[in-house]
Symmetry: C2
Subunit: 384 residues, 2 copies
């Protein structure tokens, strides 16, 4: 694990300032070359004033980068890792990078779309909390009913030591943060802009309390303004919580976007119903009707969905005795998720808390190393 200050970590810090989170080409080139090489290529293009051919990429990939390069080059001045680290120090913020020390493993579920880095203000360690958390999201124009229910779920989460993640906005977000604070729980506010911009202004005092008692987190460098597309990409970080509960949401709503992210991450989604005469609950009802969310009537049912991540029964004989060499945590989880009489890929994915694709990839890796075998559609463990 990186300590967050090496070359690659510094390059990731730079990339977090160079590219927006929803820039697929940035995600792609960093995935293909690594942050360091990708950054070196951007810098040398900027220095030479021409589009150099990036190493190890074919012509088609190179052509795709032509359009993206200018926007990255334009941001090189604000992407100096040392300056960004000093900025973090001045703010009293920690800077953690993908996979480095202090990185929340829960965000690995995002795969290549995981942030390059996170800025964190507050005493709480999100690394541990994110993996045992509940996201409470919903309408800014919430009703007293919605705020009451969000507060009740947050209070129960606080009582059980489950972190409450939300977006710092008015309405449901604020109700969730406030109840968590009131109950001495673990509030995490994930902002769309920099952690120095406690947005919206009306929630500044509340977000200062979140800094004091929990954590305010952003993948944007300080100074960046909260903008529409940043709210949408920010939502995927909230959706990486153990479960997402939509408390109130209009028919078209940012909370539904978060719920969609959570579904794509194979995280449980709950929705709280309300009066059918209330537009503030229409989005929740639509999610339930579509089978995209479980109907949740209160704290107990909400927290049931947020069973801690990674709490998969590990087989005693294998994995703990050091004899089995797993290629990744996902392989270990998939291996542990196989039942005594064999299991389907779907069942293993569920047991291991993996997506279908992740489970398939992990099982493929295990199979190549002779640790598992597929017979009649079911995976079986083989003795190492």
């Amino acid at each position: 694990m990186s300590d967050g200050t090496g070359t690659e970590a510094s390059a990731l810090v730079a990339w977090s300032a160079l590219a927006e989170p929803d820039d697929p080409l940035a995600l792609g080139i960093v995935a293909a070359l690594g942050a360091t090489e990708a950054l070196a290529w951007v810098r040398s293009c900027a220095g030479s004033g021409v589009l150099l051919s990036p190493p190890a990429l074919d012509r088609k990939q190179r052509d795709a980068l032509v359009g993206a390069l200018p926007r990255w080059v334009a941001r090189l001045p604000e992407a100096d890792p040392r300056a960004l680290r000093e900025r973090a120090d001045l703010l009293g913020a920690r800077l953690v990078t993908r996979g480095g020390r202090g990185w929340p493993p829960a965000l690995d579920r995002l795969g290549a779309a995981a942030p390059f880095a996170l800025w964190i203000r507050g005493e709480l360690d999100p690394a541990a909390s994110w993996s045992r958390s509940i996201a409470l999201v919903g309408a800014r124009a919430a009703t007293a009913y919605g705020e009451h229910v969000a507060g009740a779920i947050a209070a129960e989460a606080a009582a059980r030591g489950i972190a409450v993640i939300s977006g710092g906005a008015y309405g449901i977000d604020a109700a969730a943060h406030r109840a968590t604070l009131a109950c001495v729980g673990a509030p995490i506010a994930v902002l769309a802009g920099g952690v120095d911009r406690l947005y919206p202004a009306g929630n500044t005092r509340m977000l200062e309390q979140v800094v004091a008692c929990g954590a305010v987190v952003s993948e944007q460098p300080p100074g960046r303004a909260p903008m529409r597309h940043r709210f949408l990409s920010r939502n995927r970080l909230i959706a990486a919580a153990s479960a997402t509960i939509v408390v109130e949401a209009a028919a078209r709503s940012g909370a539904l976007n978060t719920a969609r992210h959570a579904s794509e991450l194979a995280r449980p989604v709950g929705a709280v119903p309300g009066p059918v005469t209330s537009g503030a609950s229409a989005g929740c009802h639509a999610l339930i009707r579509a089978g995209a969310a479980v109907l949740v009537t209160g704290p107990g049912e909400a927290l049931e969905l947020a069973a801690p991540l990674g709490e998969v029964d590990e087989p005693a004989a294998v994995g703990s005795d050091g004899r089995t060499d797993f290629g990744s945590a996902q392989e270990r989880a998939a291996h542990a998720g196989i039942g005594a009489r064999g299991s389907t890929t779907d069942a293993i994915a569920r047991a291991a808390g993996l997506t279908g694709g992740q489970a398939q990839a992990a099982l493929g890796g295990l199979s190549l190393r002779g640790l598992v075998e597929l017979r009649d559609g079911r995976w079986h463990r083989l003795s190492p």
Copy 2:
């Protein structure tokens, strides 16, 4: 089809007074011997004062009847068909018997548990209406919210010519009946006691309006009091509607009993959500969570569930040209429900609006007469 005045019809009228609707032995002996023979046996036992062996039943079945006979014999004086018909005439009620003229085919879905007879007060013909109806059920202790939603659904049903069936009680039932009346729709109130007992007293005037504009129906002879077990068995008649919508229901509630009946009859069930803080919606939320009801947010979604029964596309070449001799309406429906490339029993049941058992029986009959054939798990039509 019986005209309702023959010997078997008269015996069914007698049985409706002899036995309670939830008396399985009465249902059983009438199913086994027919109403006429079963009644003759009860009468001769009463006349001779000994337990005669009923014809065509084995020893075990006969022994089971020992306990039941006294309660039937005790009611013989009030089960004279002629007296019961006179009573109906005096009340201005029609008396229809199982499968006879005026019998609602929708009640055949109940199989052996269908009522022996129905007393009907009102101008509306339930025979047609029941097959294109929506049942609105819910809490007596309804809230203004629940009454509003029930009324809105009933009003839309009335506008579309869909009958609204409910139980005449306070709360949701009354809201449904009143809105149907206000919109000049087709209200049907199914009572637990006799049609001369417009219960509860506070709803008498409303139920008189239902008599004037729709139909008040009961399987109990006039004079019978509404009793707890009669409410529960009455619920199965309401559940035979095209769809059942639970508008508000406490966690334990008669409306949930109706919903269960509807599920058992393979009729669609919807439930209207409400605030999770309202106990009056707890039963609805439980149904939705259990997957036993579809979440319904308003009239459109409710009536979508009440697609008319029996509106299966009939094949043009067969059935309408008189060449095919179907043994029953269910056989005709099952035959029509077979797709061009063959269909599974389940698919045919769904297409024909039959239960799995009914579809199987119908397909068995068709198969015996060479009209269908089972190949590779799919039924295919054969040319007649």
